[in-house]
């Protein structure tokens, strides 16, 4: 894909000391994070927090934009960086937001942050969802656990441009009621009549009003009509795997089915090598892939 | 696996402790003030039950001792990985002192029996790396031996001070 372009840059094309957020993709130093301040921390679940950050540089703050589905590297100087999906709304200016599950070295340090602390952000990275190409279609989101973070911006975008899409359905599963992220949004979604929202938990529990069952099973019970529909899924690898199978069973074609991948990443810009799935780098060629694209790739997920 | 992780975590503490003893951190007894060589930095790795308590006893008893030493507390000398001492040297420590319960007194019965084999080998290997014997010592100090702790630390620091700060070399 990108290999045939003949743009050759030299160091003279690079704006000295500027990050890519400031100087644009090809003119900036892609390794230089923009410094941002944590302005709000939302505790989503016992092990997931959402961090809202404001870029310290007013120019970056004003110019920053991204596409739904794009990711960013969020890091703490002295600890390291990790890749997360951007969970703010593309139209919201002035801040950028990530949801982080406590798991490893960087995420643990992130969870120890307080409001006012400084972080480094390199964003946006990767490709977003082709939301423009989907205009006039029904969109079906199928997500589990922290997978909601990867789809959050896209859901918000399609809701904001609700008139452009024929329908929006969301199937969201978690292991238990307290493990749903964005509960404040879910309340909003439940109130709206232009969203089909199905919530499910893995095992029955007291006071739970909605569905019970694993996401792929509930999906098959929902039996959505594939006609003019785009199916997007994200969640734990095992859930994605079975959800993709369910989509096939329900008659969705590979071109109609999308997911977003996660890999260990370091540079985030297609150089350091580790996030490849066959010839594609998840950081620059993804993280969004259609199932048709995935099937072209070697099975090394 | 889990055990390995634990080992590593306390190692990080040990590692973290070494650089924290930065030059000019605190005034030290018996070293030259401004203009002279920087004070020596020494890492002490002590077990919780005996030597740490022994150092405490020394403190409570107000036994005068050099302030060049930074202590890293570990549950037991049996938990001390040779890597801790090597890491301390790598990060610029001028001396490393390891101390625990006397043989037979280990809080966990036998930790220090394993440890002393490791320490003996470690000591010989450290010397093999060209680090003088005076810069590494391991010994036993019990919780009640405040005075012995004072003696051990004073002697050890004096030995290291005689050699002065290490110059940046391999390890």
């Amino acid at each position: 894909m990108a290999g045939n372009g003949k743009t050759r840059l030299t160091s003279a094309d690079v704006v000295a000391g500027a990050s890519t957020a400031r100087a644009g993709k090809l003119g900036g130093n892609p390794y230089l994070p923009e410094i941002a301040t944590v302005i709000k921390i939302i505790e989503e679940t016992p092990n997931i927090k959402t961090f809202r950050m404001r870029f310290d540089d007013p120019a970056v703050r004003a110019d920053f934009s991204f596409l739904p589905g794009q990711v960013g590297q969020l890091g703490i100087f002295g600890v390291g960086e990790s890749t997360f999906a951007i969970t703010s709304r593309p139209s919201e200016k002035g801040f950028i937001q990530f949801s982080v599950m406590k798991a490893g070295e960087v995420t643990r340090a992130l969870h120890n942050l307080s409001e006012g602390d400084k972080v480094g952000i390199r964003a946006p990275m990767g490709c977003g969802f082709p939301v423009d190409a989907w205009k006039g279609k029904k969109i079906l989101y199928v997500m589990g656990g922290i997978g909601s973070a990867a789809l959050k911006a896209t859901i918000e975008y399609t809701l904001e441009h609700r008139a452009d899409y024929e329908g929006i359905s969301i199937l969201y599963g978690a292991t238990a009621p307290q493990n749903f992220t964005y509960q404040y949004d879910i309340e909003d979604w439940q109130k709206r009549d232009d969203i089909d929202l199905v919530l499910t938990i893995d095992r029955e529990c007291d006071g739970w009003q909605c569905d019970v069952g694993l996401v792929p099973h509930v999906l098959e019970r929902m039996n959505p009509d594939p006609a003019n529909t785009i199916a997007i899924t994200c969640g734990p690898p095992i859930m994605i795997k079975f959800a993709l199978m369910s989509f096939q069973k329900l008659g969705f074609t590979d071109e109609q089915t999308f997911t977003t991948l996660e890999k260990r990443m370091k540079c985030g810009i297609g150089i350091c090598g580790r996030c490849n799935v066959g010839p594609k780098y998840v950081c620059v060629d993804g993280p969004v892939f259609s199932l048709a694209e995935l099937k072209e790739l070697p099975d090394e997920l | 696996m889990a055990e390995e992780t634990q080992t590593s975590q306390a190692g990080a503490q040990a590692a973290g402790a070494a650089p924290s003893a930065a030059p000019g951190d605190s005034p030290t007894v018996g070293t030259a003030a401004s203009g002279g060589p920087r004070p020596v930095k020494i890492i002490g790795i002590v077990c919780n039950w005996c030597s740490y308590a022994g150092a405490d006893t020394a403190g409570v008893g107000r036994f005068r001792q050099p302030a060049n030493i930074r202590l890293v507390r570990v549950p037991c000398t049996g938990r001390v990985d040779p890597l801790f001492a090597l890491k301390a040297f790598e990060k610029g420590a001028d001396g490393v002192l390891i101390s625990g319960c006397h043989p037979g007194d280990c809080h966990y019965s036998e930790g220090n029996y394993y440890a002393r084999r490791k320490f003996e080998l470690l000591e010989r290997m450290i010397h093999h790396l060209g680090i003088p014997k005076e810069r590494f010592q391991w010994t036993w100090v019990s919780a009640s031996e405040g005075q012995r702790w004072q003696q051990v630390v004073t002697d050890f620091v004096a030995g290291v001070e005689k050699l002065g700060p290490r110059k940046g070399r391999a390890l």
């Binding site: - | 990985d81 040779p82 890491k87 790598e90 290997m125 060209g130 036993w140």
Partner: protein, 322 residues
């Protein structure tokens, strides 16, 4: 019947009987001057297997966790004396399942140091042959030279105390003459020169040596007794005990992690020295370690199956630290 014939015979029998999924031996590499590990799955391929003084690889490496393919394979393995000691060291700690291996012991007269030969030529060696204690080398441009085998042996082989495998299911031919271990202590003269250096000179030399290390992990991965190679603390980020940065200090610490990990298991087979692509003399460290362990405990790693590595046990009567 030559030892090579014995090896082929044992391999054929084990494969034919289904006792093993594959046999690890040695075969010629891309030319006749190099021997490489061979993995024979088909009895028809056993003729690849060779035995000669180029067979330096310690094949026990391929029994380590995560090395076999499939992971639960039943494996036949050829071992020389030193190799067998590393195998015993693994067996002592049950790091290899005894029931899944079949061991062909190969009594060994010493392995030649290919790097010593290499340095005798500007050109590339393409053929090495052996006869009557002589080593004949031919280069690509047709130059030939003959060496006394004794002069080009690996240094560790000259000091070898266990030329015959200490553990084997079958042995390829009669044992070779053994040194009288009861009455002679190990010879550590190979590190004497280094040991006699002053502290400053030691540090200076180590600094120079370890500046060239590229942290490729060949020493660790090839080491038969460094069994957690795939989860090495040298690579751990959480916490980061060993910096990933490359420099003499970091590299020496990296190597010391390896050394202390194998203390009591390492019989100084020298696999790490031979694997190092930049020819770092690792023996300076592991031979010293073994010297001190012998001095402290009269202990030689990997000799008796029912023994434990000396740092994993203790004796109340130990006299250290008094």
């Amino acid at each position: 019947m030559s030892r090579q014939d014995h090896i082929r015979e044992f391999a054929t029998a084990a494969l034919a009987a289904g006792r093993v999924d594959y046999v690890i031996g040695w075969k010629y590499g891309y030319n006749q001057s190099e021997v490489v590990p061979a993995f024979v799955k088909d009895p028809a391929d056993v003729d690849q297997l060779v035995w000669n003084p180029l067979c330096h690889h310690n094949l026990v490496t391929f029994l380590k966790r995560k090395m076999p393919d499939p992971l639960d394979a039943k494996i036949g393995v050829c071992v020389k004396g030193c190799d067998s000691r590393t195998l015993v060291a693994l067996l002592q700690e049950e790091l290899v399942d005894k029931d899944r291996i079949y061991v062909i012991g190969v009594p060994c007269d010493g392995v030649v140091d290919r790097r010593k030969l290499e340095k005798e030529f500007a050109d590339e060696m393409i053929h090495i042959s052996f006869s009557d204690g002589k080593v004949g080398v031919t280069t690509r441009n047709g130059e030939t030279k003959e060496f006394d085998k004794d002069a080009v042996l690996l240094d560790v082989c000259r000091l070898c105390r266990y030329p015959n495998p200490v553990y084997a299911d079958d042995t390829a031919g009669p044992p070779v003459a053994e040194p009288d271990r009861k009455h002679t202590a190990p010879d550590w003269t190979d590190i004497a020169e280094y040991e006699n250096l002053s502290d400053d000179d030691k540090q200076a030399l180590l600094e120079q040596i370890y500046a060239t290390c590229i942290r490729c992990f060949a020493c660790i991965n090839v080491c038969p007794v460094c069994f957690c190679w795939d989860k090495c603390v040298n690579r751990s980020r959480q916490p980061e005990l060993v910096s990933q940065k490359v420099g003499p200090k970091e590299n020496l610490l990296f190597q010391m992690v390896h050394m202390f990990h194998v203390a009591g298991r390492c019989p100084s087979c020298g696999a790490c020295d031979r694997a190092c692509p930049v020819e770092i003399p690792l023996y300076l460290l592991h031979r010293k370690m073994n010297k001190e362990l012998y001095d402290m405990f009269a202990f030689e790693p990997g000799v008796k199956l029912d023994e434990k590595p000396v740092l994993q046990v203790f004796d109340i009567k130990d006299q250290f630290g008094e």
